[in-house]
């Protein structure tokens, strides 16, 4: 319990620092958000008026404190480009991205675990070599190009997918899920190869150990030894690897959302950056940072649950 509280405190402190750093960084950037919003035809007065409205003329410390006091109450200000509260803007899109990430996660692990075990079983044989070459090739395909290839295959050749017909999950869950299948596959495919390779190596490391040799020697079949004994222990490193994987999925989702015109937080972030919509970017950076930190935390907790030796360690 003390451990949990300690981690939560460090989460809050980290987020505070990240917000401070992003705030200072955006202050140093050359370029004017007021100018970007109004375009180059705007007069000097119009720009000055907008700067005043957005509070850009106040000193940095004053602006930061004002922002912070609002942010802790859950108010991140209004978006420059959409003119609505940032929280409202993010909320709907966060649901989309989380749904996409969850689907990708399922699409990764459901095939990758049996495939990884199979690769370990056939190690050194031609099946293993084919899967090795295959996964090398798949891992070399950038996620955005994978998305384009999938659109070509399902949209043009098979004609069962129409790019651009995205619906928010909050509007029509079923339609939205159907649309997100392809983007999720585009994110998942390269990662399947990664998880598979990782699980294979982890299993092989376990099967080389004495307890497995012992199990086989004392009459256990190879299958039981592999699935019942080696699998469990081989999963421990895979769990830690998976917490990293969630970050990777979010990364992939930022790019793939653009390919399929999915309205998620990745797309919001990209338009935010090109429009210099700082309230949106700051909030998104904090939001994603919080998710990454929390997932790392959960990963550590899971690790301690699975491996009792860690629990006894001093913190």
């Amino acid at each position: 319990m003390k451990y949990v509280l300690k981690r939560l405190a460090s989460l809050v402190i980290t987020l505070f620092f990240i917000s401070l750093v992003t705030f200072i960084a955006f202050d140093l950037i050359p370029g004017d958000s007021a100018l970007t919003s109004l375009g180059t035809n705007a007069t000097e007065e119009q720009i000055e008026k907008l700067r005043e409205e957005r509070g850009l003329n106040d000193p940095l410390s004053q602006r930061y404190l004002k922002w912070l006091s609002r942010a802790v109450r859950g108010d991140f200000g209004d978006s420059y480009q959409y003119k609505i509260p940032v929280t409202e803007l993010i909320g709907k899109r966060a649901v989309t991205t989380l749904l996409l990430a969850l689907m990708s996660f399922i699409f990764i692990y459901v095939p990758a675990i049996p495939l990884g075990m199979l690769a370990a079983k056939f190690t050194g044989k031609w099946q293993d070599r084919i899967s090795h070459v295959g996964s090398q090739v798949i891992m070399a395909i950038p996620p955005f190009f994978m998305g384009i290839l999938l659109t070509a295959l399902f949209g043009v050749v098979l004609n069962i997918f129409q790019p651009g017909n995205f619906v928010f999950p909050t509007d029509d869950l079923f339609k939205s899920l159907r649309y997100l299948v392809l983007p999720a596959i585009a994110i998942a495919l390269p990662k399947i190869a990664m998880v598979m390779k990782y699980l294979r190596n982890s299993v092989l490391e376990e099967t080389g150990k004495d307890y497995i040799k012992n199990a086989v020697a004392s009459g256990s079949t190879k299958k039981t030894a592999l699935w019942r004994h080696a699998f469990k222990n081989a999963m421990i490193p895979v769990i830690t690897f998976s917490t990293m994987m969630i970050g990777e999925i979010l990364s992939g989702s930022i790019v793939v959302e653009q390919v399929f015109s999915v309205q998620g937080i990745g797309r919001l972030m990209i338009t935010g950056i090109s429009m210099r919509d700082y309230p949106v970017i700051t909030a998104l950076v904090l939001y994603v940072a919080a998710i990454v930190i929390i997932i790392n935390m959960l990963g550590d907790f899971a690790y301690r649950l699975v491996d009792p030796r860690l629990r006894r360690q001093k913190l």
């Binding site: 950038p142 970050g247 090109s274």
Partner: protein, 267 residues
């Protein structure tokens, strides 16, 4: 060179060809990369135009060569920044230790904990888009992994007999770091260099695809694919060729990295 594995040789040869093609593409292309020819609009691949023409009638092969030039240049400079700054920093803090070491490693851990694409996006939000800005942003983000790698190596190496004897003989610390330790990290450095190059190619392509990396008139493979996406139905060769080139680059260098790692492990 002689007792090198065959697979490693093949990887090296393909990598050399790719780098050479990129270098050539940076300075010379068979056709102009900007001249438009309406009669060749969306022309399919032919002997005159190996990869066909795009929606403005520009030769895709020339643009791919030129784009490779930009991509490889960005990737090399990026990894170069990461390698030089990262190795020097990592070696210094690893050698001297102390509070600076702890703080720097903590910062590196934080940066490495976040997904790369996200970090690159934040940095681009700060530096802005364009060829040089993406080099700064990516280069900075490559520093932590090199810091970590060289620090790990130096912690191992500084306990070696020959370093201790050098110290006893009165060789200065700086000399020990730069002339006795860093040269001995070369095999580990080489592997991370190749892996880093690959990540840089992927990151540059992704950012340019998102419209946040290289800006026109500079050609880039990622940017070409994003422009080509709309012509997927009418001229499929337009997005496919630059995509295949990216895949070949990444595949070659990831296999090269793996071969080098095997060689290192084998001793």
């Amino acid at each position: 060179m002689k007792n090198m594995k065959k697979s490693l040789k093949i990887c090296l040869i393909i990598a050399a060809i790719l780098i050479l093609a990129a270098l050539i593409g940076h300075f010379w292309t068979p056709y102009s990369t900007t001249d438009m020819d309406v009669s060749l609009k969306n022309a399919p691949p032919s002997w005159q135009h190996l990869m066909g023409c795009d929606n403005f009638g520009r030769d895709i092969f020339s643009r791919v060569l030129n784009g490779m030039g930009t991509t490889v240049l960005v990737a090399l400079l990026t990894v170069g920044i990461g390698l030089i700054v990262g190795t020097v920093l990592g070696s210094l803090v690893g050698y001297y230790g102390g509070i600076v070491d702890t703080v720097l490693m903590r910062i590196c851990d934080v940066i490495l904990a976040f997904p790369t694409v996200l970090m690159v996006l934040v940095f681009i939000a700060i530096t802005g888009t364009g060829k040089y800005n993406i080099i700064y942003a990516l280069g900075f983000l490559f520093i932590p992994s090199f810091v970590r790698m060289s620090r790990g190596e130096i912690l191992k190496l500084k306990e070696m007999e020959y370093i201790k004897s050098a110290k006893v003989m009165g060789v200065s610390n700086i000399k020990i770091i730069f002339f006795h330790i860093i040269p001995n990290m070369r095999s580990a450095l080489l592997t991370s260099l190749v892996v880093g190059f690959n990540n840089a190619v992927l990151a540059e392509a992704s950012m340019s695809y998102l419209g946040l990396g290289v800006q026109p008139p500079d050609a880039s493979l990622g940017r070409m694919i994003s422009e080509a996406q709309n012509y997927l139905f009418r001229a499929p060769w337009y997005p496919i060729f630059p995509g295949i080139v990216i895949i070949i680059i990444i595949l070659t260098f990831s296999m090269l990295g793996e071969e080098l790692r095997d060689m290192e492990n084998a001793g």
